[in-house]
Symmetry: C2
Subunit: 576 residues, 2 copies
């Protein structure tokens, strides 16, 4: 397999040319400047390339393993994880009051991409920690924060989120795990959770579970769910590790991909837990974690899309087969590199236009995430609404495009791409999970259209589109961008007018609507990136490719939406 190449030049282009984030860093007194950011990016890229990437394929082949409740990560992960903790890479975005480094999301998003792209299997042992610390920092008592956050930012302890039960996935209102009050904020937790990424493993001294459970006597459904911090080992007030808590891994799953990541069934049996936030307000607290995780899963797709592209491009330059249609370019050789074939170029350009579009979209969203912390309440409130609107699109559209990209990358390899040793089929299998977990992409689409657009009366969307129209873009693409923003607006208004009388419409239209939104946003992003091309980056040509070959999909999705829900609702369920 080829070496992982950290896309440092593209990060620099996006952060400092396209989005000018360093100006915001200065004006907001964020303790990062361009020079520091570049050195952090560079160092992260080195770790991703030299420490993490080399362990990716062996991790897939070996897998995580389970023995009587003990879970072992694949070989080499312990040493690599030690590099991550020594480098402070788990606490980059953390609250400085408790030992975090307080870096802006615009920077940490780029770091995450490199960790996901170089070794998704390994990063899954770290990634849940960030979501858990966000949630603890936002909702837990000062005492719990002081007791748990420092070791988690250090990476000595990692995090896990325990939501799903076998009968309750999307529909968390059905969950049955129980919490029995002991005293103060202490509860005993009992129940079985499934699909717990890094819920048990051997890379950290302690594992901090955030568990959704129902306090005795709580209301049915989602209004009776509370959130608890449940550590693997109990921790005293000085932060010292004590005895083992009452839960264990019952088994780990055999999965299509991310096989080096241990996904546990966790059995909680009178496990000691601490309430986070108010009783019965657990879902709201958990959404702090979920929203972070959803953006991160989009970035996971992005990282794997980049990795897949790099592998496919390297193969296409090296593999010789057939002749270019415009005449031999490698006349002395037996054949031309397949990169000379227009269809191979089309596949590579599609991957690259999607992946670089996704990277721009991730940074764009990170800009808004950072602005939610602004002192100006008008700015922070507006950005919070934008982040709410954009989060499902980041999660679903980026991961869908990543799956498309990794499949295209595999296709570039021909038969060799189906063979394990090529490495590319693993990237496809690993990328697939990003469309499924943290809420399937169908759920993201329903969240976007139902909650973020229709329930909001379209206000946030109108505001976002108006703001997008203010920004400078490459004049060559102004009309097309304006048209697709009009199309997005029109379809949104039309759905708003129809969805009240047709209660199945929002559900049947949601996925197409999310796609329409994604292609419209990427059109804007490409027109913006093209404006800042200095002629050496190829951004203008990629923009042209995007407008020629990918943007027409927006009209297709709009047309499907306008055709309504009749054919979807007509058949009886028994007919299927």
């Amino acid at each position: 397999m080829t070496q992982y190449i950290p896309p440092l030049a593209d990060f620099e282009f996006l952060l400092f040319d396209v989005f000018n984030v360093d100006e915001e860093w200065i004006s907001e007194s964020i303790p990062v400047d361009r020079e520091l950011a570049n050195s952090v990016l560079h160092e992260c890229g080195r770790v991703a390339r030299d420490v993490m990437a080399p362990l990716s394929s062996t991790a897939d082949r070996e897998g995580a393993s389970w023995d009587d409740g003990n879970v072992s990560a694949p070989q080499g992960f312990k040493e690599a994880f030690e590099v991550l903790t020594q480098g402070g890479w788990l606490g980059t975005a953390g609250n400085p009051e408790f030992g975090g480094q307080g870096m802006p999301k615009t920077l940490t998003t780029a770091l995450e991409e490199m960790f996901w792209g170089s070794n998704t299997n390994l990063w899954l042992y770290a990634a849940l920690t960030s979501g858990a610390t966000y949630c603890i920092d936002a909702h837990a008592s000062e005492e719990l924060k002081a007791r748990f956050l420092p070791a988690m930012y250090e990476g000595r302890w990692t995090g896990a989120m325990a939501l799903t039960e076998s009968h309750a996935g999307t529909d968390l209102g059905m969950l049955r795990t129980k919490a029995e009050h002991i005293e103060g904020n202490s509860y005993k937790i009992t129940g079985t959770k499934i699909f717990i990424t890094s819920g048990e493993h051997d890379l950290a001294e302690n594992i901090v579970h955030l568990v959704l459970a129902r306090i005795d006597g709580a209301p049915q459904g989602t209004r009776g769910i509370s959130l608890f911090l449940v550590p693997k080992y109990l921790v005293d007030e000085q932060g010292a590790i004590g005895e083992r808590n009452g839960f264990a891994s019952g088994s780990i799953e055999h999965k299509m991909g991310i096989r080096g990541s241990a996904t546990s069934v966790i059995n909680y049996d009178d496990a000691q837990g601490y309430l986070i936030g108010e009783p019965n307000a657990g879902l709201r607290c958990m959404f702090t974690m979920m929203n972070y995780a959803r953006v991160s899963v989009g970035v996971q797709g992005l990282g794997l899309g980049e990795r897949a592209y790099q592998m496919a491009a390297a193969y296409a330059k090296e593999r010789i087969q057939g002749r270019a249609p415009t005449g031999p370019v490698n006349a002395q050789g037996a054949a031309d590199p397949i990169i000379e074939h227009p269809d191979v170029r089309r596949m590579l350009l599609t991957q690259r236009a999607l992946t670089e579009g996704s990277r721009a979209f991730a940074v764009f969203t990170a800009v808004e995430l950072d602005r939610t912390q602004r002192t100006d309440p008008e700015v922070s409130e507006r950005s919070s609404r934008y982040v709410e609107l954009l989060t499902p699109v980041v999660k679903a559209f980026i991961s869908d495009r990543a799956m498309e990209s990794t499949l295209l990358a595999q296709q570039c390899f021909g038969g060799h791409g189906y063979i394990v040793e090529s490495g590319i089929e693993q990237v496809v299998r690993d990328a697939r999970i990003s469309q499924i977990y943290e809420g399937t992409n169908g759920i993201q689409a329903i969240d976007l259209l139902g909650r973020k657009v229709l329930q909001d009366g379209g206000q946030t969307l109108r505001s976002l589109i108006a703001d997008l129209r203010q920004e400078a873009l490459d004049p060559r693409y102004m009309t097309q961008v304006s048209d697709v923003l009009d199309l997005w607006s029109d379809v949104s208004e039309w759905l708003g007018s129809q969805a009240r009388s047709d209660r199945s419409l929002a559900g049947s239209a949601a996925v197409d609507y999310l796609n329409l939104a994604g292609y419209a946003l990427y059109a804007w992003l490409w027109a913006r990136m093209s404006l800042f091309d200095d002629g050496t980056r190829g951004k203008s040509n990629l923009a042209q490719f995007y407008f020629d070959q990918l943007l027409p999909r927006a009209e297709y999705h709009a047309k499907v939406i306008k055709n309504g829900s009749n054919a979807v609702t007509a058949p009886d369920s028994d007919w299927f």
Copy 2:
């Protein structure tokens, strides 16, 4: 995993209602009638359901194994293969003169779908035999036919095709395997072939390889390639097995899917081979096998798409989660079955509209394949040209839609679909190969647009479209079908006018062109099926779904084509 349900009612609908194939069987004196066909379909469905399907997931988990040149198929395959040979299922389409059953392709295509759908891994040990026997029957000497065909039709001996070498996949002109003349049609074959499906295994007494090689002194490139029959065990003139021939499996591949199928590296070392056809005319002979195999690979995708749909629909009826948007349908239960959610229905209907469209397309093509055998030379010649045109579309469009369908089916399972035990992730991995082998789908697209349309001056295509316009369709969809046939024609003419001056255009447009062709053909097929709906099959609603949600893709592909190749050709190869 749910039981495999043979789609017998749909076969009957297509064969006898939509395409009236029994009338052609009678008028052409083909020794099959409706009653016999139904009993063959029924019996095949029983074998697929009861013998083959139960071995599918264990085969994936166990995989094929290699030990010092000996290859073992997974457990249970030997007994199941015995059922296939005892039932005569390997010789259904064979030449009756040598023991084949002479069934029409309209029938055997349906049989193949069930074998592929119930257990692709197992059927791969049988499927190559049909392609090999077609090729032998069409091109080998009478003596070779008599010596090899009867045992192959019985399934005592199986077939394999040995084309690819590690440096020569798509570009067979580069192959290096050598053939040294001994006497008569006997040659000694030396070289190494890769990706040889069922090139070595333990299910048959003998394995008959068809090997492409270069006779000493033959011209360079594709004009110097000859085809040889190279049996694993030498066979005397009475058909008795003799000593082991000079080749062996050097290893088997570790693959993303079809893990129960053994894909060998084969080392030929002075192996005895017999020339098939004329020297240096090997590629043409091999295309008899390849064209058969390409149609069959499309049908493989179809079978797996059907299997995936069945699994997803069963899960969606059983899994309860959330409430239907129009109010509870399972009010006494904790939640409604997810099939009540419009987005889940949308996914299931997409799968079904694509899969049933693909089945209709496979039968439509089989009708033309049978007509190539008509005594009326005008009919047989026209149908031969149609089959040439349609073959790459059958292979690529059906397998692409199958991949889309299996991924959607997996998505219906949520997180459970990523777990091996659900069974659905295997179907995704198995389906993926159908887009890659027998010529990647990119190669199919270039074959369609370059060779079958542009080189032909569009004549065959014009004739096919004119014929399609003659047939009775559901009047509700006449306009839309007519419009998309116009669009297909217009884009074809436009490409014909532009491709001479822009030599990269055919390559860059090919995949979109193949998709445009596919969606146009499926529009015609859905309007035709809808005409024959008796009100109980749901075909009219599926047709409506197709026209609302899937046909708009045709315009998208047309638009991309018309946007030209500039953005594809612009970047230097080094830029990638």
